[in-house]
Symmetry: C2
Subunit: 272 residues, 2 copies
């Protein structure tokens, strides 16, 4: 683990990331010593820094630190946290914030291969996404909604949970974005009020564009989810994973277009 | 500073308070070595622990640690943070969470006496409270909305900012609750969708009851704020502080009933 470039694993209690969740994070797949989709993750991080009014971090310095940590790692997960750094008591940010960079490397999770072939089983969560248009989309450190949703089940046979917002719109899984497949193409929830705009979500939308598939980004009800032919979940570690069932509803993993998977895989492999 | 009863000022990066804002806090006034309104703060903490699914903390142990820290402190601020403790990567809480207790003592802020006599000047914030009924009321560590609202101004002549919710309802100040005074009595915003239910807010409501004053807890528009005779802000450190002006609107601090102030002061002094 590196904190501001130095090997360390503790931070001061005064860090505003702890005090208020005043910061951002990114989770990247590491393959053959290289963090995947670095530029996409850095672009989202910069958007978040803009929203929170944090100084824009030096991405070359971050990359050097990431490379130090990832060298020799065949397959792993790089988590990068940027907080507003230490500050006094009270919400007011220091005028000259000195953000803290925390980079840590974690084991690759052993997702069962069956998830990719037969699809994951999903549940519907009771915990809702709150509405907050100003913070929606960015990957900040205020993540209690997803923590509470993920706390709802322990059954290891359930891979993910679907979360709605306060007005019964489908938003996402607890740790990834959601897509529906039907005869009209792809559909994914609008994230202007709630949710996190995923790097893989963007790549799926771009890949579909390459293949002349339609992607609707709009309000999605549970009824539409029920009627979809296929569902899939995306995130940077999982990639694209089809759904077998959500509660009592069954889906056809083979209805996720193979051409889409391949185009996405290429992008995930080749983009800087 | 005490962490789990030991003098320390750093926490592991793996703490879920940092990773997700997965925890709660309380801010107490310390006067003559004694944290004020301990039982009220502990009751709110327990409510929050229930909402987040944290084990209920041992309040006697917390009190012993607080007393150790506060002994000899004539006047100060005790901040108490409870996180879900350390956990692996991913939102899912550990099945046997070992919460971390972080107690720190801070200087008493020197609020100008003029605030209490002539009233504070307030601004109206652009940052809104998001909606989240499940988390509303409790004092959890996901506090980005207030951070962003407090970041909007630097003028030291402005003491506080008023925050609305997404549907233009008035909710609170950035660091305290808000009350309106008019011929019908007191009014304070309903906090079922957003905001923090303050310990002093409760005491004001109880004090008003003692004095047979009406307190309306309901939806409050900016128009009603404009028409009020007086406004005041409450929190555990500030106590009750009248408002002189909000943007261009002026208020009469002397319209805050003296009997209410006195009854509240008594409660603040005498309650355990």
């Amino acid at each position: 683990m590196l904190i501001n470039g130095q090997p360390a694993d503790h931070i001061p209690v005064s860090d505003r990331g702890l005090q208020y969740g005043d910061g951002l994070f990114e989770t990247l797949a590491v393959i053959d010593s290289r963090p995947r989709l670095w530029e996409r993750h850095m672009a989202r991080l910069s958007r978040g820094e803009g929203v929170l009014g944090l100084p824009i971090s030096d991405k070359r310095q971050l990359r050097q630190e990431a490379d130090r940590l990832c060298t020799g790692c065949e397959r792993g997960v790089l988590k990068l946290i940027i907080t507003r750094g230490s500050g006094g008591r009270g919400y007011r940010p220091p005028e000259q914030a000195a953000p803290r960079r925390i980079l840590s490397l974690h084991d690759w999770p052993d997702y069962p291969q069956s998830w990719y072939r037969q699809g994951m089983r999903l549940r519907l969560c009771e915990t809702r996404w709150g509405h907050n248009p100003q913070l929606a989309g960015i990957k900040h450190l205020n993540r209690l909604e997803q923590v509470m949703a993920r706390q709802e089940w322990r059954d290891p046979g359930i891979a993910e949970g679907i979360m709605l917002d306060l007005e019964d719109r489908v938003i996402s899984a607890t740790q990834g974005n959601l897509f529906l497949v039907d005869d009209n193409g792809l559909h994914t929830p609008d994230l202007s009020r709630a949710g996190i705009s995923g790097v893989i979500r963007d790549l799926v939308i771009e890949s579909a564009g390459d293949l002349d598939m339609t992607v609707g980004i709009d309000e999605i009800t549970l009824e539409r989810v029920q009627q979809a032919d296929a569902l899939f979940v995306t995130n940077s570690i999982l990639g694209l994973c089809p759904v077998a069932a959500l509660e009592g509803w069954a889906y056809a993993p083979e209805r996720v277009p193979e051409s889409l998977r391949q185009t996405l895989e290429e992008r995930m492999r080749e983009l800087p």
